[in-house]
Amino acid sequence: MTPQVLVDGLMSGALIGLGAIGVTLTYSILGFANFAHGEFISFGAYATLLVASGISALIVGSDQGIGALSISPAVIGASFIAMALTAGLALALDKILFSRLRGKSAAISIVMASFGASMAIRASLEFAFTSRPAYFSRDLEIARPIGFSLRATPDQIALLAVAAALLIGVHLLLTRTQIGRAMRAVSENPALARVAGVDVDATIRFVWAIGGALASASGVMLGLLVQIRPFMGFDLLLPLFAAAILGGIGSAPGAFAGALIIGLGEAITVQLAGSEWRAAFAFLVLIVVLVVRPTGLAGRPT
């Protein structure tokens, strides 16, 4: 095993973390595991791809990578639009599907509805873009030494910084702002939150928007580092759930810590057993957490 797993592990941990925060927030506030969250990731990546190609057709040269990065201004601009679009997708799904079931049916039928939605969105992406992988850039990047005998590509370093900034931003949002307090309040006790003057419906919409936007960011990063496929988000779903449960449902810092553990564990698994066994690690973590400490690292008893 080489120290290089640290770079790979941090990177995949950051990707998982961005998705897992959305999973943990919607889970704790709406009370169900959203199986369509993986599709938000894929949708964000494809939306970025589409918008970026539009931008580069309009603005000559905007598809050239910035400096040493393979990331172009077109992709950066498009990723913001895609975050808004994915937030819109999450809100639309809530409006046409989940909100109709809220409070009326058992939580498990909402899980099932999300499962159906997940299939439909994923197959729609397959229909529109086929299952052939797509790429933001054909440039081949070379990993450079970054000290401590570690190597990383400029893209990896830039994306790690972006992911860290996003995660810190979410943490500040949750702990320091009124909407953040409202989200935590709704997650603990929706009835009391209403009595305290919190507009629960608006808070739920905000949670969907945040979850969708972060998932989209995760999808763009995954697309930049690996490739874009209709199944990219679906394949990430198990690590997302495992990270959210490991961290303790409802805890954003917990989800992020869980994601880092799973990211590093996956990197080690890849080193020891080969990349084909990557997904098995998340399952192992899931089982161990459910057996040993189902409330997770930061979890409060439910």
Partner: protein, 320 residues
């Protein structure tokens, strides 16, 4: 051989065998979801476990792969039920005392990991190439495909009927009544001294064992298995079958399986025949979209979840 008659018979029995295999999976899912309310998102994983377990035990010895014990087919079937039932029991033991979603997430994980093992554990599962030379019942008739298919059809029809009758009797037994009581009013059942977790666990393991049996029967009929036969779209299909047939209802599960399998096969034929090859993958995606939308719409249209067997329950109670 006259093709004008034999061909259609062979095709019809081939189609029916696979429909009945699906019906068996669907019956297993009905025990879990329809009768107990347990949400299994990894149906395909439990089917695959059964298929591989039976294949490993019954195939002739093979180089570079574990197993190949050339045991009788019936032993393979039993082993398939035990293997899938045991994995189900394990998953249930880990998750059933927790939130309902955790079972769903874990079964999803099982399907992912089973696919991973099937694809990569070459020494056990043959990897991407799968396992070939799985002994087929009535193999001596293989030279006459129509006869072979008909004989197999009869065999699996018997299995499905036996399972159906057994499940119906089970539903009316004290065990089935407790299961219903737990689902309708968990607290009242607990007050009567029934442990809901134990009953759910048994139901989940039973459903898993049936899925495993279906996997084994399918594997022995085709004679060959590979990871690509066990992708998540199978899970979706079985769910669509149960929903169309009406969950909670064993006969409905069988009819739903036949109906959805017919639609699925027919649309597959149409796509293969009429749709240009360049568009085939996309047309296949449309089928999945349709199932996903169906699944989500049914849940909204029938707000009491999909547990639509109220009439079934009262009918049982009337008879008692």
């Amino acid at each position: 051989m006259t093709f004008d008659l034999i061909g259609p018979i062979a095709y019809a029995s081939f189609f029916l065998v696979l429909a009945l295999v699906n019906a068996l999976v669907c019956l297993g899912l009905n025990v879990q979801w329809g009768q107990t309310g347990l949400f299994n998102v990894g149906v395909v994983g439990f089917v695959a476990i059964g298929a591989y377990a039976s294949a490993l035990l019954t195939t002739p010895p093979s180089q570079g792969r574990l197993g190949g014990f050339a045991l009788p087919i019936l032993v393979g079937w039993l082993a398939a039920m035990v293997a899938s039932g045991a994995v189900s029991a394990f998953v249930g033991a880990v998750t059933l005392r927790l939130r309902a979603d955790y079972l769903a997430i874990t079964t999803f994980g099982v399907a992912v990991v089973v696919q991973l093992v099937a694809l990569n554990a070459q020494g056990l599962t043959g990897g991407a190439f799968g396992v070939a030379f799985i002994p087929r019942p009535f193999d001596s008739l293989a030279s006459t495909p129509a006869l072979y298919d008909l004989a197999n059809l009869a065999l699996i029809a018997i299995v499905v009927v036996v399972v159906y009758v057994a499940l119906e009797r089970l539903a009316r037994s004290p065990w089935g009544r407790v299961l219903r009581a737990i689902r309708e009013d968990e607290r009242a059942a607990m007050a009567l001294g029934k442990n809901p977790v134990r009953y759910r666990l048994q139901a989940f393991a039973l459903g898993g064992a049936l899925m495993g049996l279906a996997g084994a029967i399918g594997a022995h009929f085709i004679g060959f298995i590979a990871p690509e036969n066990y992708t998540s779209s199978l899970t979706f299909q079985v769910w669509a079958m149960l929903i169309v047939g009406g969950s909670g209802n064993n006969l409905g599960a069988i009819i739903g399986a036949g109906l959805v399998w017919a639609l699925w096969s027919a649309s597959g034929l149409i796509i293969a025949d009429l749709v240009p090859a360049s568009f085939e993958a996309r047309a296949a995606a449309l089928r999945i979209i349709a199932i996903g939308v169906l699944l989500a719409t049914m849940i909204v249209v029938r707000p009491r979840g999909l547990i639509g067997e109220k009439a079934m329950v009262s009918r049982h109670l009337d008879k008692e």
